[in-house]
Symmetry: C2
Subunit: 348 residues, 2 copies
């Protein structure tokens, strides 16, 4: 059906119904089918895109809740479509830097078609001889997060000992592989036998353990790090951080990337061993990938050859269909996903 020069099509969207407290449920979101005219408004400098892949990431948990003092990204707007990182095909462009047919990754809507006005947060995809979905993970935001967090924050040196929590996730699996490429000893923790097997057999971690089967995390860490931990890549927070602090070495570094174990609690758990920061002269540094986008070119130059040479591998948990996006997002918080959680909106 034509309308004002554009075809009108149906547009499925994922809507946040209302702000969430505690553990999110699928029913906190709903699917809505609207229509969209496949034509940019007159004079728009934005892009009309068809969304192909969407990314489910732990940082999105805070966006499901009302903004608070520790929020670092806007909350989703109840009643409106959600958004996040994704890969999309440009259908129409009001911006001279993009052309119809281009593939882009960056911030897009949780819907089939989006009109994107914030084009400064979009990257054009030039290398298409890797799976396109990798731009939601290995080659996109989580990949750059792992790269910046490990190389810029952790100051790794050959021979150092590295611990990664949530190690089979979108970021963790890469940190472990970067650590091995740097000549470090690396151990990962994850929440199932399958994930532990992946860490050891697929990603080349020296050791891995299932934290759910360790009654004493401190003892587990002492077992794998008898001489202590030089670098901790922190993805979980809470009890694990407390145990790690006891096991850090002098002048150890902690890259604080996220604290997923805490995101659904009304109040975060208390961390008791912070005196270790003084006693061991630890540097604990938080970082957000937004501060490192200037490194994306260098990052791709480093990582693309590794992928082609088979020196870096990547595991995705791919769900088909926008209608399955809410469950996929929520699965992150129970650890249901194995590897980077991707949602396929369309394979074109």
């Amino acid at each position: 059906m034509a309308s004002g020069g554009g075809v009108q099509v149906s547009n499925k969207q994922v809507i946040l119904k209302d702000y969430v407290t505690g553990f999110p449920k699928e029913s906190d979101m709903e699917l809505r089918t609207t229509t969209i005219t496949l034509k940019l408004p007159q004079g728009s400098t934005g892009l009309l895109v068809k969304n192909l892949y969407l990314s489910c990431d732990p940082y999105m948990r805070s966006r499901l809740s009302k903004q608070d003092r520790l929020s670092y990204v806007d909350s989703f707007k109840p009643g409106s479509p959600m958004n996040g990182y994704g890969v999309a095909r440009v259908l129409e462009s009001g911006n001279p830097e993009f052309n119809p047919g281009d593939l882009v990754w960056g911030f897009t809507g949780w819907e089939e078609y989006s009109v994107l006005t914030a084009t400064e947060s979009l990257f054009k995809i030039h290398n298409t001889d890797v799976p396109l979905s990798y731009y939601t993970g290995l080659l996109g935001m989580p990949g750059l997060t792992a790269y910046a967090g490990f190389y810029e924050i952790c100051s790794p040196k050959k021979g150092e000992t590295v611990f990664v929590s949530a190690a089979s996730g979108a970021v963790g699996q890469l940190v472990g592989q970067f650590a091995k490429l740097t000549g470090c000893y690396v151990v990962g923790s994850a929440g199932s036998k399958q994930k532990v097997d992946l860490l050891k057999n697929k990603f080349g971690f020296d050791e891995a353990f299932n934290y759910k089967e360790e009654p004493d995390l401190d003892a587990a860490l002492r077992r794998y790090f008898p001489d202590g931990i030089d670098i901790y890549f922190e993805n979980v927070g809470g009890k694990m951080l407390d145990a790690v602090l006891l096991n850090m070495r002098l002048k150890g570094r902690i890259a604080a990337c996220g604290m997923i174990s805490q995101y659904n609690l009304e109040q975060a758990e208390g961390v008791h061993n912070l005196m270790a920061v003084v006693a061991k002269q630890i540097r604990m540094e938080g970082f957000l990938v937004f501060s490192y986008y200037h490194l994306h070119g260098k990052f791709l130059e480093t990582v693309l050859p590794y992928i082609k040479e088979g020196k870096i591998t990547y595991v995705e948990d791919v769900v088909e269909g926008l209608e399955n996006a809410p469950a996929a997002l929520i699965g992150l918080f129970s650890g249901r996903n194995v590897g980077k959680q991707v949602v396929v909106v369309s394979r074109e």
Copy 2:
């Protein structure tokens, strides 16, 4: 009384009776009077010194207890004299770098006379036109702690906002003055009206508050830092750290120098707001002065002129007599001292 070429004199000592748990008491220590022959043993490369001033410092709390995984200095040995930083006069030297009559500061015994063998941890005092006791504080270990912690760890810039806890203590009062010299806005917390007055009227802090009179530390910090804190010089830990984390600015820095509020607890309090480290990209870094002794020369060059020009001032809480050292040390943990706690062993 002569003995082997040396005079035998009485030597009062402060002895730790047994390891302490919980809040230390005066009766955990005792005074013992022994005798010492004022002559170095044949072939000794050490120094025989007469102790003049002793320093009471918060880090000594952990030395009263049995070594644990967060200890960073040896425990005192029950039944033996305690030791710590002090100022002493060399009576006899087996080390060519020191001569009888020299004044030194560094590690010495809690007694009237000591034989010191670890001469590498002693500094010769060249500038004696300042109070000698300053070498237990402003010009000694606490001074270098403040200097290294503020300039090396906090990366301060003119116009930034600085918060110092335990701000009237040996380290805090200097951090505040360094911050003012750098052109920062600085606020301190302390535990009495008298200390708060000192901070504002003597040390030139822009603002100060009595944390004991603030039912809501977060609200207090918001009042003094409506736009947040760039730099936190951490001396207390626990609830104050939790409140500070909520009030830190993006890319804020926390120099973790000590956590005195936690030292007498069986288990340290839980700190809940560590997600702020991620969300605000905070760098929290622990440090020990031992790593910065190489800066001592530069530090003196910086600070001595400031003292002479009256740009840096210092307040000491001076107790007379070795017999009063146990009470002075314990007073640190209830905040009894006003300014740097010094014990006079002898004014010669």
